[in-house]
């Protein structure tokens, strides 16, 4: 039975089209004709969730199955939530407007830690018990995946099972098992018993954490010998032949990324030491330009979008970029379709490309030097020199651009006040480049916007052992920069250190911080990543009520041999490699990227993508790493 939502309710909320569905290419099936109903939940508002490519891929992929109907669910904004609670309306799916509590699966994608309270809130709105231990036969299985699932422990009490790694294959395997299980009418526990055998499945209820006297972990161990001691992520081997939707839902309202998203490749070869994405998505695997051009054509025809965005972690690293962009310009220009090129390194090729494809005002270009001095950029292994940056901005100013955004982090490991000051200095050097360009060649109205975020140490990075700066220290650094960055062309903005501190707690939290999450939600926290809803003092009360010290998680430097809550998860890259990188960071030594040589990070275990080029002999090994991968860690 569909949930009925009267017009007066929808009329009284902001952007009612967030809740009404029916968009072009959304999939309509008869729910009575399928045996599996999957509610794909994004724990944020519609405009954010619909901009997420992973959800779109899995939505279409699941709906390819005749036995399954996957529908979309987003977090209702606070105004709608209030009306739903007043009127007894449960959380509902967009396609059939049916109660999520009646689905077989409720799946959450975990894109950022600060969406976790929304997960609890959505479960509550759906009438599903928050804790997995309280769910019984006939209730949905609550599952989760996505980048934050690599440290599943903070959510371990709420999620029945996690799917680790890329979802295209594993999700089908789970559905196959479910279909059989449902026919047999076996128990809830039995289903989990069956899927725990699938590589990449983590069933938190089958594992138990033990802690030492000092509060650190002793181990997270399987309760039975038959459960895997380490759960290895899944990766897709051949991106050209894996499912990619040829149709995309076209939202009625503006969403954050309102264009076709074409995924060039997965992973990144660069190995920046702060960047989790750079490690968890290894190894790099590309789609071929021919396949991408074909997909672009089909997606354009099925959506009518006027813009195609080439997405990846670092577009300039795509080996087929000139070929692909040449082909796309030829195909799309007559149709008045633009190309958007995010995360492009600025050089003469890319500037020329942007001239050709982007029909936008030459207002802003973004650069991410991340740190203010060469010393610190070497520590974080960000392979960008001051010269590179100044050359790039010089080119951009010469090409008519007049606005530059510079992204930095403060609180990076081994940072000194000299490094912080370097941010302001670099900002001034960038501004100087503008004035070197002859007046008639440069655009009007120089604006250099410097923005700093606060470093959050993440699992599966070389900095996972590091302490985050305290809120006070981060504030002092921000104040310092506010004083140093002056002049009418320079602008400075910064992030709330309170939010970064909470991110640090949940990024590296263990199972115990789940209690804080539940308490914060009880006290009214949700939409924490939206400034207007972030209630730091309520969060502090939640920590206090649970007797948990956030500093233990955020601001404590770990011993090299400390057991981490995510040590039973295997992303390919070994802990030993990460530690080696951490030690090199301390000495300011850089590590070459995968395109130059293999450094033996461990991702070769998958034998795919760029790794196979080394073993297969296609790529010449310059610097053979000695220790390779060690399974026993």
């Amino acid at each position: 039975m569909p949930v009925i939502i009267r017009d007066d309710i929808l009329q009284s909320v902001e952007k009612p089209a967030r809740y009404t569905g029916g968009e072009l290419n959304s999939i309509i099936k008869d729910p009575s004709k399928v045996s599996i109903r999957f509610a794909f939940c994004f724990p944020d508002v519609y405009e954010v969730g619909m901009s997420h490519l992973g959800m779109r891929i899995l939505y279409n992929l699941l709906n390819e199955r005749e036995d399954t109907y996957c529908e979309r669910v987003f977090a209702p904004w606070t105004d709608m939530e209030a009306r739903m609670r007043e009127n007894g309306i449960p959380l509902f799916s967009l396609e059939t407007r049916q109660a999520v509590g009646s689905f077989d699966f409720v799946g959450f994608t975990l894109q950022y830690e600060m969406s976790y309270t929304n997960i609890l809130n959505m479960l509550d709105l759906a009438g599903i018990p928050l804790e997995r231990a309280d769910r019984g036969e006939g209730q949905p299985f609550v599952c989760a995946g996505g980048p934050c699932a690599y440290n599943p422990e903070p959510l371990a009490d709420f999620i029945d099972f996690f799917m680790l790694g890329e979802g295209e294959e594993i999700i089908n395997e789970v559905m196959d098992v479910y279909g059989e299980w449902k026919k047999e009418g076996a128990s809830r526990e039995e289903f989990l018993n069956r899927i725990v055998k699938i590589e990449g499945i983590y069933v938190p209820g089958f594992y138990e954490p033990k802690y030492k006297g000092d509060g650190t972990l002793e181990a997270v161990s399987p309760l039975k010998a038959s459960y895997p001691a380490k759960i290895r992520k899944r990766i897709i081997k051949d991106l050209d032949n894996i499912y990619f939707p040829e149709k995309a839902i076209v939202p009625y309202i503006n969403i954050v990324h309102d264009r076709i998203m074409l995924e060039l490749f997965r992973g990144c070869t660069r190995g920046c030491r702060f960047c989790q994405a750079g490690y968890i998505y290894r190894p790099v695997r590309e789609r071929t330009p021919g396949k991408l051009a074909e997909l672009a054509g089909k997606l354009q025809e099925s959506t009518g979008y006027g813009e195609i965005s080439l997405t990846s972690l670092s577009t300039s690293d795509y080996s087929g970029l000139p070929e692909l962009t040449g082909e796309l310009i030829k195909e799309m220009e007559p149709k008045k379709v633009n190309l958007a090129l995010p995360s492009l390194r600025i050089d003469s090729f890319s500037l020329d490309l942007m001239e050709k494809v982007q029909k936008v005002r030459k207002s802003g270009l973004t650069f991410a030097p991340e740190a203010g001095t060469q010393r610190l950029r070497d520590i974080i292994n960000k392979g960008v020199t001051e010269e590179d940056l100044l050359n790039s901005v010089g080119l951009a100013f010469g090409g008519g651009w007049s606005g530059v955004k510079l992204y930095f982090m403060i609180g990076l490991p081994f940072e000194t006040m000299e490094d912080v000051e370097g941010i302001a200095k670099l900002g001034r050097l960038v501004a100087d480049e503008y004035f070197k360009v002859p007046k008639e060649k440069r655009g009007k109205g120089l604006e250099v916007s410097i923005s700093t975020s606060s470093f959050v140490p993440k699992p599966f990075t070389p900095f996972q052992w590091e302490a985050q700066d305290s809120i006070e220290t981060l504030r002092q650094k921000q104040k310092f920069l506010r004083d140093k960055i002056s002049g009418r062309h320079l602008k400075y903005s910064w992030h709330d250190p309170e939010l970064s501190m909470l991110e640090a707690v949940f990024a590296r939290g263990d199972r115990r911080v789940g209690r804080v999450l539940a308490r914060a939600w009880e006290l009214g926290c949700s939409f924490d990543s939206w400034g207007e809803h972030f209630k730091f003092d309520v969060w502090m009360q939640a920590f206090n009520d649970c007797g948990i010290d956030p500093a233990f998680y955020a601001n404590r430097k770990r011993d090299p041999d400390e057991v981490f809550p995510w040590d039973h998860i295997d992303i390919g890259v070994t802990k030993k490699h990460l530690l080696r990188e951490y030690q090199k960071a301390e000495k300011g030594e850089v590590t070459p990227n995968c395109m130059t040589s293999c450094v033996g990070c461990g991702a070769t275990v998958f034998g795919q993508g760029i790794c196979s080029e080394y073993s297969g002999g296609g790529r010449k090994q310059q610097n053979i790493a000695s220790d390779g991968r060690e399974e026993s860690e």
């Binding site: 007066d8 009612p16 009625y252 959506t303 029909k359």
Partner: protein, 247 residues
């Protein structure tokens, strides 16, 4: 170069889409259909289409109008069929005609008819509401506070005279209650003909506000539908697809 005017409907599924978003829906549908739309010249080319009176968010309609300029001659039947094949559910082109008029649709609209269902928690008798409407229509002047944005961006209430913009209005009970509206004390349907377009425009919510003032109670829920839009030829009402409006 040729111009085509269409009439289209907007159903329940798409009634919460803003006018701006609706234009994007058409822009994308046209691009998908491959119809030879003409683009504006300039740095950022836009498809040449003009829409009639914007439909307020939350309202359904079976009489929306739009003008399209085509770079190549295209038959009206073909145009309608290809556009419908590309439009999402809930938006349907129901008629199309060649348009030779210089005046675009936006500038031609003069009046509109609305079906307004009002639901109140309070039980109101038909005599009571009918008398209320009759008394209201007898007034020579009706003033309501209209919210608008002031110079500083803040919302201000301005008294607005609306009586001359109400052309006709009648009330009757709602015969079949829509699902979800069973719990109200009363449900009435108002058929109202109001001035509309660029010269004088009365939004139905403002009309309902005036009616609520008259009754001394406000509707707890409303459902709104636009049943007709018309322009004028020689002082008489005319359908925008009427020959007289297209030549």
């Amino acid at each position: 170069m040729s111009k085509i005017r269409v009439r289209f409907s907007r159903g329940e599924a798409v009634k919460f889409i803003s006018h701006l978003d609706l234009m994007k829906v058409f822009e994308r549908a046209i691009r998908r259909s491959g119809l030879p739309i003409d683009y504006s010249k300039g740095f950022n080319p836009h498809p040449q289409m003009v829409f009639g009176l914007p439909l307020p968010v939350g309202m359904t309609s079976d009489c929306e109008y739009a003008d399209f300029t085509l770079a190549e001659e295209t038959g009206t039947e073909e145009f309608m069929q290809r556009l419908n094949a590309s439009l999402p559910e809930g938006i349907r082109v129901t008629a199309a005609a060649v348009n030779n008029s210089k005046k675009n649709i936006m500038a031609s609209i003069r009046g509109a008819e609305y079906l307004l269902q009002i639901f109140t928690n309070e039980v109101l008798s038909l005599e009571n509401v009918s008398a209320g409407l009759e008394n209201m229509l007898k007034c020579e002047s009706i003033k309501v506070g209209k919210e608008s944005k002031g110079k500083d961006g803040r919302r201000v209430l301005r008294e607005t005279e609306i009586r001359p913009m109400i052309l006709k209005a009648a009330i009757e009970p709602v015969r079949v209650l829509p699902e979800g509206y069973e719990g109200f004390g009363s449900a009435y349907l108002i058929k109202a003909e109001l001035k509309a377009g660029s010269e004088a425009n009365l939004r139905p919510d403002l009309f309902l506000k005036a009616f609520a003032q008259q009754l001394g109670t406000t509707a707890d829920a409303v459902r709104m539908h636009r049943s007709a839009l018309y322009s004028e030829v020689g002082g008489a009402k005319a359908d925008p697809l009427d020959k007289a409006c297209l030549s």
